[in-house]
Amino acid sequence: MIAAVDFCLSSPIPSWTILSHSDRRTSWRAAVSPIISAESNSLFQQSSRRRCLFYDMHKEVIPFAEAWSWQKSVVEERKTLIDSNEDGLDALIALQHQPVYTLGTASSENNLNFDIKNPPFPLYQTERGGEVTYHGPGQLVMYPIMNLRYQKMDLHWYLRALEEVVIRVLFSTFGLTASRVEGLTGVWVGDKKLAAIGIRVSRWLTYHGLALNVSTDLSPFKEIVPCGIRDRGVGSIKELLIGYDGDDGKLIDIAHDSLVKEFCQVFQVELCHQPISMLNH
């Protein structure tokens, strides 16, 4: 039985949960951080969900290189723990990026409408799957660093699960009916892609993740063939909300809160806020 709750970040009640069997192998550092219950308005504590460290920078615009470096160091640290038969907790980084283009491992220069040596914004060749995409302010980016041994050891399942998070957000919070397109990973409303997904997996540890256009300026997408798909476009939540003339910041907050809630539901985790300084150690 699951109690229906509003996910509330404003008055967290730090508490200790009984570590489940899988948690006992986690490192001491993770074990000392307080848990923020998803149900801060109720006395009922859900102790059956795996804890997941949460680095929430969704209001901030972070340079791509910095966030990339954080992910890689978290993954390296976990691999070291895994080598000695332990593991750290899963982590989720949420943020916005400064304008940037990123390429995946198989990315083709044909999908760039500019000279690769002279890009309009910084361009990074990354180790994730997928083709070229754009990240910028107004777009919510989520980088889950999950050990799929605790979920399902199936990359396709993981991609579908990331899509599921976004599909649920779009429907439950914005009343938008989104869908998947077989063979074209991502989340679509009509023939416009609202969320792009691209991941890297190393020893079942995933990184990189998803990017959802909330109030993004979509014009930088014209300089590329996004994700290598020529006959479809890119959209954002804002442009699909007919008659919305409210604050972009508010839209971002609403989308973010929904993303976090659906992420916890789909992956059955409990988020545990961490100070950003923990990423820079």
Binding site: T105, A106, G129, D154, I199, V201
Partner: protein, 155 residues
């Protein structure tokens, strides 16, 4: 009738040294050694040919890109030496043995699908000069690997 054809199929299979009627329906080749990260190694004296297994390619789906190491680099048992990309997910390929890369399969640059179509033959990925032949003992044989796959799929 079905019994007879199954009998002949399994005779043919054992001649060809492939095991069939595996619940996962992925083929496993006898005489190869296997790592728990789903790479195979064909040991020939002091050298090994390495690739990913049928089970691995089946789970990945269509491989669109293979990241190959440079000839001459060192590889370490259990560590990543390259990557395969399939539908927006790029995953590490780990070496089942330690040594030095002496050859890479350049065909994979233009035909990454060989990994799917022929994971044990034309889809080979690298050839390595072993630095420690004892490491081979820690790898699984085909029966152990088949069982390992079954258990993992039921996880």
């Amino acid at each position: 009738m079905a019994m007879a054809s199954r009998f002949w199929a399994s005779k043919a299979a054992s001649y060809l040294k492939i095991s069939t009627f595996n619940r996962a329906f992925a083929s496993v080749v006898k005489d190869l050694r296997y790592a728990d990260s789903h790479e195979w190694a064909k040991i020939d004296g002091n050298s090994a040919t390495i690739g990913i297994t049928d089970h691995a390619q089946d789970h990945l789906g269509d491989v669109v890109y293979v990241e190959l190491p440079e000839v001459g680099v060192a590889v370490t048992q259990g560590s990543s030496f390259g990557a395969v990309e399939s539908v927006k997910a790029t995953s590490d390929i780990n070496s089942p043995v330690s040594g030095k890369v002496v050859e890479v399969n350049q065909e994979l640059s233009s035909s990454p699908g060989l990994v799917n179509g022929s994971p044990y033959e034309e889809g080979w990925i690298i050839k390595v000069e072993l630095s420690n032949t004892n490491e081979v003992k820690s790898l699984m044989d085909s029966d152990q690997y088949s069982k390992f796959c079954e258990e993992e799929d039921n996880h």
